[in-house]
Amino acid sequence: MGFKESVEETPNLGGKWMVGLDALRAQDKVRIDPESTSTAHLRGSVDIDTAWLALDPQGNRWDFAIGYKHQNRSDEFIYWVETHTGADDQIAVMFRKLDWLKTWLSGAGRKLAEFDRLFVWVPSGATSFRQGSDQVRKLADKGIKYSGSKFRIPLNHKKSKP
């Protein structure tokens, strides 16, 4: 089952799958830079945050999921993207969001948990985090990749899967 079908079969996400990056807000869309935007590679997106707003208004909801079929992998891959202020005091907030997402993936979102994935924090606005900094290392240790102000999705994944 591919990304689109898995989204459609996930509770509260039925009908929420969108082509390309169309599930992202305009201001977030410009922060994502897929090397190939062909539908053969960019397999669509879904806005988790909005879909779960009414059901869990106080939750630290995650923003988006983007499905991608890398050229060197046979399976589809999910980039779980959160666009959020890139500041020290937001690291704890991001951890809470990740907890929310993982809890959701182990329950209602389990169809989407079957994909290999990367959790990505794309900073909105200015940030002073840099590669190799303590902050970025702390995030990596929890499984979050901190991207630059633009997150590039490469055509070939670093880890190929036959």
Partner: protein, 388 residues
């Protein structure tokens, strides 16, 4: 209208591994990049362009004669076999004017004062026998910058007498620097001149009663690397009211971090700031991300209206009056950072050190943060997929 300070600019093409370099120097200029990308030979070329008559005079006094052969001159200046860095396609521009290096070398002037002091990466060799050797001690295969550095240290020794103390010395360096160095590089030791069998040598002597003397051979790697650097800094920071040694405008330090713990690197960076504050135009090459941390912090703090106290906080030093004045001066100075890219043999201006730059050479700080970045990425991927 106030005229902005002149920023020297050098353009070099087809020189050794460098295909195209375009460098505008700040008050501090930092070169980063992989090994053998031309950082050191570019700094040596800069020295040659700034001090050609002086260099010729030094060679002349030492009896070095290249008989008008430019390639032989390149070998004695850059070191044996290095004439190959030059080709008929090499071109050099200084401040917009083309320089014909062979003509410059053949010129008649040969008695000017030195304007650039060069602390080479091989500085530890200057003290290999426990005492700095004279220029002539080295054979013609040794680069000029090392021979000259060693000669300067030899001359410097005469300031300290037959059995003198080199560190700590009251009028050398700010008291704050002396305290930091004593705590982090020479804990429990003084650096002294000692005579043994009529031969002078440098030793570290224990400050404890009955403590012995340690010759160079048993110093820690960091101490062996740091002492020639310290002596080079002594040369630049004269113990008079003059901020700079007469005639010297430039200070070059190659790989200042060699052998040093991060705490000691931080102190050396503060001493680099001291050189800037004294009005030297400083150039350093480095493989240490910590050096770029310091530069990044300096620039960001200045851009965001932070205070000298904030800058000193980065170095974990007390905001004494002297250090606050130093930090205040440095925060007004300009810093440039260049990445030497092996691919294409070019230089890139990465002075902003923007962690969000789309250009990997800038966001990855010329490769110095790339390893950490890859480690973070790999760990983030593994963690994300191991615990559904």
């Amino acid at each position: 209208m106030k005229i902005p300070p002149r920023q020297p600019r050098f353009k070099v093409e087809n020189f050794g591994p460098i295909q195209h370099a375009d460098i505008t120097f700040g008050n501090l200029t930092v070169f980063v990049g992989p090994q053998a990308t031309g950082k050191s030979i570019l700094l040596q070329l800069l020295k040659l362009l700034e001090d050609t008559p002086y260099i010729k005079k030094e060679f002349s006094l030492a009896g070095v004669d290249w008989s008008g052969k430019f390639t032989d001159f390149l070998d004695v200046y850059f070191g044996e076999g290095m004439h190959s860095v030059w080709s008929n396609r090499t071109s050099i521009e200084k401040n917009g004017s083309k320089i014909e290096l062979p003509d410059l070398v053949e010129g008649k002037r040969s008695n000017r004062q030195e304007s650039m002091f060069f602390i080479p990466a091989q500085r530890v060799l200057a003290l290999r026998d426990g005492w700095p050797s004279a220029f002539n001690y080295y054979d013609a295969s040794t680069p000029f910058t090392l021979r000259e550095f060693s000669e300067h240290l030899r001359l410097l020794m005469s300031d300290f007498g037959a059995e003198g103390t080199l560190f700590p010395v009251p009028r050398r360096l700010k008291a704050e620097f002396r305290d930091l160095l004593q705590a982090h590089i020479f804990p429990g030791f003084d650096l002294k001149i000692e005579s043994q069998h009529a031969q002078k040598r440098l030793v570290l002597t224990s400050t404890q009663e009955g403590g012995g003397s340690l010759p160079v051979a048993v110093w820690s790697a960091g101490q062996r690397e740091f002492v020639p650097l310290l002596l080079g800094l002594y040369w630049l920071m004269v113990p008079t009211k003059a901020p700079r040694r007469k005639g010297l405008d430039w200070a070059v330090i190659e790989e200042l971090e060699m052998g040093l713990h991060p705490r000691a690197i931080a102190i050396v960076m503060l001493m680099v700031f001291e050189l800037m504050a004294r009005g030297y135009r400083v150039c350093i090459s480095t493989h240490s991300p910590q050096v770029l941390d310091a530069v990044w912090a300096l620039q960001r703090l200045r851009d965001h209206g932070a205070t000298p106290t904030d800058l000193l906080g980065v170095f974990d030093v007390e905001p004494t009056q002297g250090m606050l004045e130093l930090a205040g001066k440095v925060m007004k100075r300009q810093v440039k950072v260049y990445y030497f890219d092996r691919k294409g043999g070019t230089t890139r201006d990465i002075s902003k050190l923007d962690p969000n730059a789309g250009e990997q050479s800038e966001s990855g700080w010329g490769g110095l943060a790339e390893f950490s970045g890859r480690a973070n990425d790999a760990v983030a991927r593994a963690v994300a997929n191991s615990n559904p």
